[in-house]
């Protein structure tokens, strides 16, 4: 089985040159492009060539755009082979190291600088702060998204803003106004709520999904019709940790074209998979990853968003350390796998359940003195990347 791969076939175009890096060691070999085989075979081959038969590995590769993408199933393995031209660069990590703190700090730091920096990091940010934690795609955090495109009228837009306890303000104002509705009696002026101002540098502005004079129709699924400005304000503030506003944009030109796969600027990612938790972005299937490689992957698990973040009230026991309040009923693993800050108490509530449990003590204490400024900074970075 492995023999097949080991045969040097440089002279044929069907051969893929592979450069695999594990720790400080490199291995070079080649694969047949037409017959890549299955992922588990490939995995076994890697263990073999690196002579680490009993080490659990996390396999990543750099695609044409320099993004670090995972190889963990047949689909993305095949994709990786098919797009490699001519060199396929692999980065291997021990599974046990490949969790939050270790991932990206050690073995991947240098490759990231050289290979991934163009997209993932800006040079200046890179200089100032400790390496940003780059993890599996599902650990990326979106800051905003358009959702429910399939069930909304084309003139409306449902925007989700993810506050996530970051320092960046939501940054917009609303006002009373009147909008024109078509009724059986003809056009009728009805009172409505509108976005009146955007704070420069705020979350709302940076997403580009909301604009001044957009009419607010719903807040987290509740219609605002008939509610006063103060009520809508309070509703938005109460939902500020995970705000979903449905607006009728004042500018209707940039609307999502529903039929096209990638027509409009936002259209390429505007499809939602289902109404319940439909985030634009991609599922973890390798095909989707590969077709639009310029975008950052967001494998955002629905339950993570749905789980109420304000359940994470902070409790300090006498003399003890702060612990987030787990939901008594549900398992802790449903918590969002995101680092959170509690600036008031200057304590970090690592609510990422099992993942963070092993090493949170050291890594968190190392991170917390860096303060809010840095965190806010990194959010900003993410924000610009993920913005449509």
């Amino acid at each position: 089985m492995n023999k097949n791969h080991r045969v040097p076939s440089n002279r044929t175009l069907s051969a893929v040159e592979v450069k695999s890096k594990f720790g400080a060691e490199f291995r070079r070999f080649s694969l047949d492009r037409s017959k890549p085989g299955r992922f588990d075979e490939f995995y076994g081959l890697l263990q073999h060539v690196h002579r680490i038969p009993n080490v659990d590995l996390l396999v990543g590769y750099a695609d044409v755009h320099g993004d670090l993408l995972p190889i963990n199933n047949d689909d993305n393995y095949h994709k990786a082979i098919s797009v490699a031209s001519p060199l396929l660069r692999l980065f291997l990590q021990r599974k046990e190291e490949a969790d939050y703190s270790a991932f990206g700090t050690d073995s991947l730091t240098r490759p990231k600088k050289t290979v991934l920096a163009a997209v993932l990091l800006r040079p200046d940010a890179n200089r100032k702060k400790p390496p940003v934690i780059i993890s599996l795609p599902r650990d990326f955090r979106p800051v905003s998204s358009i959702i429910d495109v399939d069930i909304l009228p084309e003139t409306h837009r449902r925007v989700r803003l993810y506050k996530h306890g970051q320092e960046k303000p939501l940054g917009f104002y609303i006002r009373d106004g009147s909008s024109v509705r078509v009724t059986p009696q003809g056009l009728e002026k009805v009172p409505g709520i509108f976005i009146s101002r955007m704070v420069p540098g705020g979350l709302a502005e940076s997403t580009g999904l909301l604009a001044v004079n957009d009419e607010v129709l719903e807040v987290n699924g509740i219609e605002v019709q008939g509610k006063s400005l103060d009520q809508v304000t309070d509703m938005m503030i109460a939902n500020s940790h995970n705000l979903i506003v449905t607006v009728k944009p004042a500018n209707q030109r940039n609307n999502i074209v529903r039929s096209g796969g990638g027509g409009a600027a936002s259209g390429s990612s505007g499809r939602s998979s289902d109404s319940g938790a439909s985030f634009y972005g991609y599922s973890s299937s390798g095909t989707a990853v590969a077709t639009t490689p310029a975008h950052i992957i967001q494998n955002y698990h629905p339950e993570e968003v749905e789980s109420d973040e304000d359940d994470e009230d902070l409790v300090i026991e006498a003399g003890g350390e702060a612990v987030p309040i787990p939901r008594a009923a549900s398992a802790s693993c449903s918590m969002p796998a995101l680092p959170r800050y509690e600036p008031h108490l200057n304590l970090r509530t690592a609510a990422n359940g099992a993942l963070a449990a092993s090493n949170s003590a050291s890594s968190l204490s190392a991170l917390s003195p860096t303060g809010r400024g840095l965190e806010g900074r990194s959010q900003e970075e993410d924000g610009t990347v993920i913005t449509l």
Partner: protein
Amino acid sequence: MKRFRRHGQESHRDRIKQELYQFNKTVEHGFPHQPSALGFSPSLQLLAIGTRSGAIKLYGAPGVEFMGLHDENAAVTQIHFLPHLVELVTLLDDNSLHMWTLKAHKGVSELLEIGRFTLTGPPGAPPSVTRVTAVLAHSSGELLLLGTEGGHVFVVEVPGFRELEERNISLEIVTHSIPEEYGGRRSLEHVESLQENPANPQQVLIGYGRGLMVIWDLDCQSAVKHILATQPLESVWWTEDGLRVLSSHSDGSYCRWSVAGLDTQSEQEKSEVPYGHFPCKAISKVIQLPTKQGPPFLLFSGGMPRASYGDRHCITVIHSKTHVALDFTSRIIDFFVIRDGPDQAGEPSALVVLVEEELVVIDLQTEGWPVIQTPYLVPLHCSAITCSHHVSAIPLKLWERVLSAGALQNTHYSKKPWPITGGLNLSPDPPQRDLLLTGHEDGTVRFWDASGVCLYPMYKLSTAGVFHTDADPNDNMNQCTEGEWPPFRKVGCFDPYSDDPRLGIQKIHLCKYSGYLTVAGTAGQILVLELNDESAEQAVEATVADLLQGQEGFRWKGHTRLEVREEPVLFPPGFQPFALVQCQPPAVVTALTLHSEWKLVAFGTSHGFGLYDYQQKNNVLVRCTLNPSDQLAMEGPLSRVKSIKKSLRQSFRRIRRSRVSLRKHHVNNAAKLQDANARLEAELAEMELAPVQRKIEARSSDDSFTGLVRTLYFADTFLSDSSHNTPSLWAGTNGGSVFAYQLRLPSVERRAEDLVTAHPAKEIQLMHRAPVVAILVMDGHGSPLPEPLEVAHDLARSPDMQGSHHLLVISEEQFKVFTLPKVSAKMKLKLTAIDGSRVRRVGVAWFGSSCSEDYGESGLTVLTNQGDLHVVSLPGVKMQVHHPCIRREDVSGIASCVFTKHGQGFYLISPSEFERFSLSARCVVEPRSLVEVPHQTPTSLSRAQPDGASEYRYEQPERASKNHLCNNMKTALTGGKALSNGGDFHICSVSIVKEECNDGE
């Protein structure tokens, strides 16, 4: 199948809900805001008050109350009962007349509007021709005489409001009958007064504004006599024998005229300016009443010397040698005198005066004319209400002690019973004794009997005596000097001026079992008081609680601490202060609670909270909650002081503006209306230009006043381990933090010596950071922990200490249940995220089922900033019912709301009135009273048409029918229908009359 079953359960639950909850606004307590008219029916013994907002309220014997509201938002200017009937007529500012009746329905009378009417003059006539200035309800009960601004008198048949054009008394006819030399061609001006001759119902006296009075005979349709007065007329009074007429004038004089002779012109018997020499103000009303032996009573309002006492509101009472000028606290609206005897023709017994801010009743038969304490219409606002506290089910012992302490304060009141006795109070005796405590701006706490329909004053506590204030307590009392002229006597208790705003009461907590009371005020003072039946002279020991605890960078720019009197102070029987805590900085106290079993008081301000042991008189704990970056809390209320100045200036401007517009309104000019409309439009356009914006931002720890302590709570619960319950103190702040302290209390024997200690046990920071408005611990059964001493007095089941306790934290945005002792979120109810309303007030209540005696549920009564009431179930925190209650613009109404423990509540609808509402189906306090038709009168019997009348029932005056009536604008009801109403009354009246006769024998 499953779905089907659930549906069944839900409908079952719906039925239970209906049995538990029912929303009613039941009764208004206190004094009507801005009263504008007074009426009295001697036959019904009912008092009627109309207000500027168009409300009309009827009061009889204590507990007999009716209320009605005109659809028009116009001031009630006059109220006239139809003599010997249950109907009354109101005249509004918009010149409409309304007929109201008291209709018996299911054994309870209701006040209903049954007709409305607006005078229509001849076509093309100016509006002044039909603008009604004087109303006379003729004693026949069939006629209404309406004098107008144009000088005409229109005659209208009632209750149908049918104009009898042929009987109208036009100005022209009257002008012809008077001598030419009287003023020549000058106008007689408007009709100022219409009076019926008490001895001859066919004679009516018409008084014109210029001074002329004409006696008109309704039968002959001609003028019988005229009185030529030269001064502008203010009022007219026909003496009981019909032989004399009194007139009062705008120059401060009154005249007596004899009208006995046959001469067409009557001569002046007497003219007097009682407070003469210097120019006087008008005498607006004069009354003379005979007594069996001796001289008559003469009463008149106004007439004070303009320069020296022009600002006094006085009624002068002269009887024989006694002459008193009663000096009232606010403008006099109207007054009348109640007379003894079955026909109200006997001796004058009481003078009833309605002034702008209170109702004063003076006993005219007791030496010194003392005031009779009113059982209703009490001026709640005699000093502005700053907070209120309700205590349900007071033990009889405490009740009696408070009553007896109050009785000692009321010795100056007359012993005579309340003279207005109309109607029967049918409401059952209240099931329990409830106390409502109101804190006032002048540092007093008033105790009200809130058990029933009448909010009755029980006792007044003043805290000002503990402190040195700027004002000498004796400076404005009893300044009545001998030989002063006019002989003033101050009456009434309305006194809105506070000597020192720092004295204002902000929080009250009373333990009904031990009689311990704690009150806290504006300058950070917390007084602990104890009920003592004897007066005592004692010094109050002050302890300072430094809430800052060395917090740096603090600059308090607010008021200073109150200065405590060092020397012993004599306290009268009642609640006597024995301990005092003063917060430093002296910010207003925002949370207060007392645990009488542990003898601890917890208090909080915008800077922190503290725990005080009132047995050992020391601070157990002081905790600063201040966020150092919170500039507003650091500096105190200085900015607000500035804004008060500014707002004062603005409000003065507003008053001036509104006065101008009011005057304009009286001119009654269409052009002005246009002008106002244009202004309004311009204002709207301005609003379009600069719209109100609201910033959408998540709360952060840096927001202002996050450290303000909103709620404090004592609980005996499982704070740190699940096997041992311990006393604990819980505090919630504006920033969404909850602090829990474990308390260690020494054993009872060592309580006086060993120190109480408090250890921080837990802190919870709510993620959504909304202000914490209430904290509650529920026992193993899910019911709220009982109050201190409640179990000891066998009044509550002891809490279940076996099952696990739960903590309920109520923030402005959501209700959240946590487990104890390990705090983890169990369930929650979101409010703001769903409908945008925020919790303003919350109370724990027990709702009894209206169907089964022994079923009941605990629940939370919640008032939101939208003015909606909700009931939230316990322990499941599920929304049960929801009712809109207060207008959301009525911020002070929402802020004043207080809940009872049995699902009722109170809120201020004006500075002087509490509205009482009930959410409970079982516990409802509402007036139920019956007013019977007075027995007598051949006229009313003749009006009754028994045939088919009892079948005909009036429709409820619903909006639709009212609008319909309004459109018709003329007569609302035909005569036939109105008559059938009379028949209806006749039938229900007969049985009652019989009963009454039996009683009499």
